[in-house]
């Protein structure tokens, strides 16, 4: 099962850091998300994108996780050579993630 089936995401950018929220459509799926989407697993799935540390913050009352990806925006929005310098599309990469064992 892909994350896209149970959650939605939004990407934000600050300098060379991208943050991607992961929000369960149904709060009852939050425990599974929190269990499966470890920072290490997300970093592994977003190889080539999450080039630095990955931090995770939890908001269980909202069914939401917030991932902070360091060194993810080609040196920073203002000077990156990337087509999508803001990394606006990265939420879609997150939604492609397969939920292991599901």
């Amino acid at each position: 099962m892909r994350l896209h089936q149970i959650a939605h995401c939004r990407t934000g950018d600050k300098g060379n850091i991208s943050n991607i929220s992961v929000i369960a459509y149904d709060n009852r799926d939050f425990a599974m998300l929190a269990d499966l989407l470890t920072p290490a697993y997300v970093k592994q799935c977003l190889v080539g994108i999450a080039n630095g540390a990955v931090e995770r913050y939890e908001l269980p009352q909202l069914g939401a996780l917030n991932f902070v990806l360091h060194n993810a925006l080609g040196g920073g929005v203002t000077r990156s050579l990337a087509l999508d310098a803001h990394g606006k599309c990265l939420a879609s990469a997150m939604l492609e993630i397969e939920m292991p064992g599901r």
Binding site: N19, V47, E55, Y57, L59, L62, R79, L81, L83, S92
Partner: protein, 445 residues
């Protein structure tokens, strides 16, 4: 109990104008806030001001003011905006002239300055967050340096009877926080209220992003009548709790999902959202639907502010040249790769000094990185070659080499586009808030 109605008139410099007009007309607003200053915008505005001392404020200021001033004047809706950019004084002057031309009277315009700290910064001690070195060691031509002011000077402007407040750099949420502080008489050390007011500002500051913009995913997250997306407004209670909504009849959707996405937009640690006036704490926020397109926001909080302000420094970084060309049909990926190899080789042969090169095949690997699937099924790609150079002339050479692929490159390449531009970069640091003295100038029609 008093309820304050604050609407968003713009979420970025180029935002649509007609939803702002619609909101001004039908929102029964106390305040209409236009957020128009992205991180780099003020540095570009400073360059514009250096070229023309009368420029440097938001290029859409005139159109926006002409569109909403008569309505806001009639409805007693006050306007707050950072459209002053690098030249708030001229923005105020121009707004004054527009008000006169429109025949409006009894208008007070406040201009907030003091964010420009270019001449105040000590390059030998100012330390950059990004690199840890001093601005002096960074050694790049600085264009601008602006501190993110808090709500204080805007509150002062409102207390002075301002109908319109124009600023340069202020923290985006502070433009929304200020009217809450002023109208509800919140103390500047009531951290919980300041945190809640910041939360409202954070949710509203990107305009359509909370009413269904940056959200639609057809079949999964559908947004009704999205081409007519309405801009948001908040109904704020004295305790700082709020309802986020939009005016009836507009397109879009305000839902728990749109509000939750926006809550975390550009946020790192939700418990520690650093602002000039407060460290806002979103970690306990509750988001609940109370009626269609009406979402209750509660549970915001805050902690004592840090006492430092963030300063954004704009500098001339480099130049970027880019060229694109399309290939289609059988072997398109191989021809695209060949095209990129040719450009790389040509730039070497002709001694173009590239500091950094990036090659993409749009449709294959330009956004999400290396593609590992079957390339035989790819119907078309667009080869994109981009490089950083130290001169505009070298940057232009990139596009020239891509364009010459028409006659000299792989078979059947078409649709070349090219560009070359100067890159203004941004670095940041902190400054003690006591070193900043915002000033207020009142103009009157």
């Amino acid at each position: 109990m008093k309820t304050l109605r604050i609407g968003t008139g713009a979420g970025f410099a180029g935002d649509r104008i007609e939803p702002a007009v619609e909101l001004a007309q039908n929102g029964n607003l106390d305040y209409l806030v236009f957020e128009c200053l992205a991180e780099r915008t003020i540095a570009l505005a400073q360059q514009a001001r250096m070229a023309d001392p009368n420029a440097g404020y938001d290029p859409l200021l005139e159109r926006r003011m002409r569109a909403v001033l008569p309505i806001c004047h009639r409805n007693k809706t006050r306007i707050i905006s950072n459209m002053g950019a690098a030249n708030p004084v001229m923005a105020g002057q121009r707004t004054l002239e527009i008000a006169r031309e429109l025949g409006l009277t009894g208008l007070r315009i406040a201009v907030v300055c003091g964010d420009d700290v270019h001449n105040q910064l000590d390059a030998n001690t100012f330390t950059l967050m990004e690199t840890g070195e001093t601005l002096a060691a960074f050694n790049k031509p600085v264009i601008s340096a602006n501190a993110y002011l808090g709500a204080g000077p805007i509150v002062d402007a409102l207390a002075n009877g301002a109908d319109i407040v124009l600023t340069g750099r202020v923290a985006d949420p502070a433009m929304f926080l200020a009217p809450q502080i002023y109208e509800f008489g919140w103390s500047m050390d009531d951290w919980q209220k300041l945190g809640r007011g910041t939360l409202v500002g954070h949710l509203l500051e990107c305009g359509g992003q909370i009413t269904g913009g940056y959200f639609a995913d057809p079949g999964v997250k559908d947004v009704p009548d999205i081409a007519r997306l309405g801009f948001p407004l908040a109904e704020v209670s004295e305790n700082g709790d709020a309802i986020i909504t939009k005016t009836p009849g507009t397109g879009g959707i305000v839902s728990v999902a749109t509000c939750t996405e926006q809550l975390l937009y550009e946020v790192h640690n939700p418990a520690c959202y650093l602002q000039p006036d407060v460290i806002a704490d979103f970690s306990g926020v509750m988001i609940k639907q109370v009626a269609p397109n009406r979402i209750a926001i509660t549970g915001g909080s805050g902690h004592a502010r840090t006492g430092t302000l963030k300063v954004s420094v704009g500098y001339v970084d480099s130049f970027i040249g880019e060229g694109q060309i399309s290939y289609a049909g059988v072997g398109c990926v191989a021809r695209g790769r060949l095209a990129l190899d040719i450009v790389r080789e040509r730039l070497k042969i002709t001694a173009v000094d590239c500091q950094e090169i990036r090659c993409d095949l749009i449709g294959l690997d330009a956004v999400l990185g290396a593609y590992t699937g079957d390339i035989a099924t790819i119907p078309e790609i667009r080869a994109r070659f981009t490089a950083r150079t130290s001169s505009l002339a070298d940057a232009q050479r990139i596009g020239e080499e891509v364009e010459s692929l028409y006659l000299n490159g792989p078979a059947a390449g078409g649709g070349v586009t090219r560009s070359a531009r100067q890159i203004v970069g941004i670095v940041s640091g902190l400054i003690d808030e006591t070193l900043i003295t915002p000033t207020l100038t009142m103009l009157e029609v």
